[in-house]
């Protein structure tokens, strides 16, 4: 009797020890106190002349008067940064290059994995394309990102964007255009490449102040106004620049300059 009573106490002690030991080893240290924080959830949409884009249908006309259609848009946005009193908070540090592809629905959403401290933020900025520091060849081995590679010969790294479509030229012939942006090149008189030009730029979004609330997700829609690529300040005429521009820094420069107001943001 005495022995069994002793045994049950022992058992209790042992079991308690085991439970404490095992739970301690499996779940790690007790959690540190977390400052109040929430999340950001971004979605991407694409409009032409203010209306949701309709693909593969020649219903648009750009500033230069070229009738055109769009088949697909594929691009990188990176370095999402939140601003508060002049202080920058870079999201997702090393994995902050997001790929958007109008053919891949799940690419139209991006939720930075960082949780963001509660409070009011003044603005959001991001880089269109990839910065020189991060735009390294072979860093994406998996599709679809790897399909965006920009040939080594032309500067390497990745396309910032492939905007593919067709326009009707002055002879009424429908021709494809590949409005592709990435690292540009400078050439000498013989056509040899003498250097490379970084064409990425930071997008400053007007009216992008927002609030992060503890435990909640703040949602925002980033809109690409496709027609803006072809105007302001440069009227981009396909009849003049032709259907391919990867090796034409002047054309890419004109496009990039038009890029400043291509994006807008709306918080829900």
């Amino acid at each position: 009797m005495k022995f069994y009573k002793y045994l049950s106490i022992q058992l209790l002690v042992i079991l308690t020890a085991v439970v404490v030991f095992q739970s301690g080893c499996c779940t790690g240290k007790p959690p540190e106190p977390v400052p109040p924080a929430g999340y950001l959830y971004l979605s991407f949409q694409h409009v032409v002349d203010g209306n949701p884009i309709v693909f593969d249908t020649m219903i648009y006309q750009n500033e230069a008067g070229n009738p055109y259609l769009v088949s697909e848009i594929q691009y990188f946005v990176s370095d999402f940064t939140l601003w508060k009193n002049g202080q920058a908070l870079l999201l997702d540090k090393d994995e902050d290059i997001h790929y958007v592809d109008t053919d891949i629905p799940k690419s139209l959403y991006y939720s930075p994995s960082d949780n963001i401290y509660e409070g009011d933020y003044d603005s959001l900025t991001f880089v269109f394309g990839i910065t020189e520091e991060k735009n390294r060849s072979f860093m994406f081995v998996n599709p679809p990102e790897s399909y965006m590679f920009w040939p080594e010969h032309l500067g390497g790294g990745y396309h910032y964007m492939k905007l593919n479509g067709k326009w009707r030229d002055t002879n009424e012939v429908v021709q494809p255009f590949n409005f592709h942006l990435g690292i540009g090149q400078t050439y000498d008189a013989q056509g040899n490449i003498t250097g490379f030009v970084q064409n990425y730029f930071t997008v400053h979004l007007p009216a992008s102040s927002f609030k992060i609330v503890n435990g909640l997700t703040t949602k925002a829609v980033i809109t690409m106004h496709v027609d803006e690529w072809f105007k302001d300040p440069n009227t981009f005429d396909f009849n003049y620049w032709g259907g391919h521009i990867m090796e034409n820094q002047q054309a890419m420069r004109a496009a990039i300059e038009n890029g400043h107001n291509v994006f807008s943001i709306k918080f829900e």
Partner: protein, 383 residues
């Protein structure tokens, strides 16, 4: 008593600790050896291997036998044998080859003597294809039809198609059940000696996933082991520039060493499209009319005749087509942005350089790798 007082708690403590230990597994009678695919440098790390068919050494071994065993037709008469390897020949990069003695011009025919609807596709690096098998990609992982999702399903299709192996699955599994040595191989690969057609599919699919080519001259160049000559280097620049030959957007390059996107394009061969088995048949999207998969250019010199209908017999003809033979139509893919000029207009030297570059994608070790070749004999010593 005292000893018991000590021993019992210690025993209890130990047993409870071990019982909670996550590493202790019950002994299993069926323990296949995992087969690991070594991912070549620069290749995608994501592999298209279905969860219910993990790669094992035993599965691959069995799959190799079945791939090569003519009795996969379910018949044993010498004139009724047919297996995957009847059409998919290693020395032709697992196509039939344009000089195939059985299939003149590389136009393959099934056991019923009728030609397949399209010409052959090779079997190279298929484990990296997520977007679709077949010229129009009718087999793909997210297919709502669960029977058309992966290479396993392609095995079923090839075995049962009238103009391919024209087999009966019940007869086939019964035949293999009766062949000495095979039941044991199924047992080792799948844990049961009972031959099922599902396990035939799984084994062959595992073998097909091992067929990897990553050792061409161009791969060695990228690894810094070999240099390309002037002509090949110039061809490479042409291949990867829009103002050159402009092939890379669809057929890859250093940044996409598969040398395909596995995606579907209308590459401007025609103006009228009547094939009921183009990409449009799968998606119903107008832009896919006359579109087919851009095939890998690895080992392409062995894969004539070219295009889904085999219209070109030589690489030279293909290059002439891209250079000056394109046809504009509402369906041509925008990436063919030289189409309004009829092509990319290469000079004769440029054409030679481009072909010389494409030939650096030839991988002899793939064509002769003993692990991919016909076994010396089958499990029952049949040859």
């Amino acid at each position: 008593m005292l000893r018991l007082k000590v021993i019992v708690p210690v025993f209890l403590l130990l047993s409870v600790l071990f019982w909670g230990c996550p590493n202790s597994k019950p002994v299993e009678p069926y323990q296949p050896t995992p087969y690991t695919i070594d991912i070549p440098k620069g290749f995608p790390t994501r592999l298209n291997i279905p969860k219910d068919n993990p790669m094992t050494v035993e599965g691959v071994e069995l799959g190799r036998y079945l791939f090569y065993d003519g009795r996969l037709s379910g018949r044993t008469q010498p004139d009724s044998l047919m297996s995957c390897s009847t059409c998919h020949v290693q020395s032709s990069s697992f196509e039939a080859g344009i000089n195939n003695p059985r299939f003149p011009g590389g136009i393959v025919k099934g056991l019923n003597g009728v030609a397949t609807h399209h010409v052959m596709l090779p079997m190279i690096n298929l484990v990296w294809n997520f977007s679709g098998y077949g010229w129009n990609g009718y087999i793909w992982p997210e297919n709502p039809n669960p029977n058309l999702r992966n290479i396993e399903d392609m095995v079923y299709a090839a075995v049962t198609a009238k103009n391919e192996i024209d087999g009966d699955t019940t007869r086939i599994k019964n035949l293999f059940q009766s062949i000495k040595g095979y039941p044991e191989l199924f047992g080792r690969a799948f844990g049961s000696d009972k031959v099922t057609f599902k396990n035939i599919e799984k084994a062959i699919a595992q073998f097909v996933r091992t067929l990897i080519s990553a050792n061409s001259k161009f791969d060695k160049y990228l690894r810094g082991e070999e240099q390309l000559n002037q002509s090949e280097l110039h061809g490479y620049v042409l291949f990867t520039t829009e103002q050159g030959a402009d092939c890379f957007h669809c057929h890859g390059g250093a940044g996409n060493p598969l040398f395909t996107t596995h995606l579907f394009y209308n590459n401007g061969k025609d103006t009228v499209f009547t094939d009921p088995m183009d990409r449009y048949a799968i998606t119903g999207k107008e832009r896919d009319i006359g579109a087919y998969k851009a095939t890998t250019l690895r080992n392409i010199e062995f894969q004539a005749p070219y295009m889904h209908d085999g219209r070109f017999k030589t690489l030279e003809e293909v290059i002439d087509f891209y250079s000056e033979g394109l046809h504009n139509s509402p369906y041509v893919n925008p990436l063919m942005h030289h189409v309004a000029d009829g092509g990319v207009h290469l000079t004769p030297t440029e054409k030679t350089d481009l072909i010389n570059f494409i030939k650096t994608l030839r991988d002899d070790s793939f064509l002769t790798n003993p692990a991919f070749s016909k076994p010396d004999k089958f499990p029952d010593d049949y040859k």
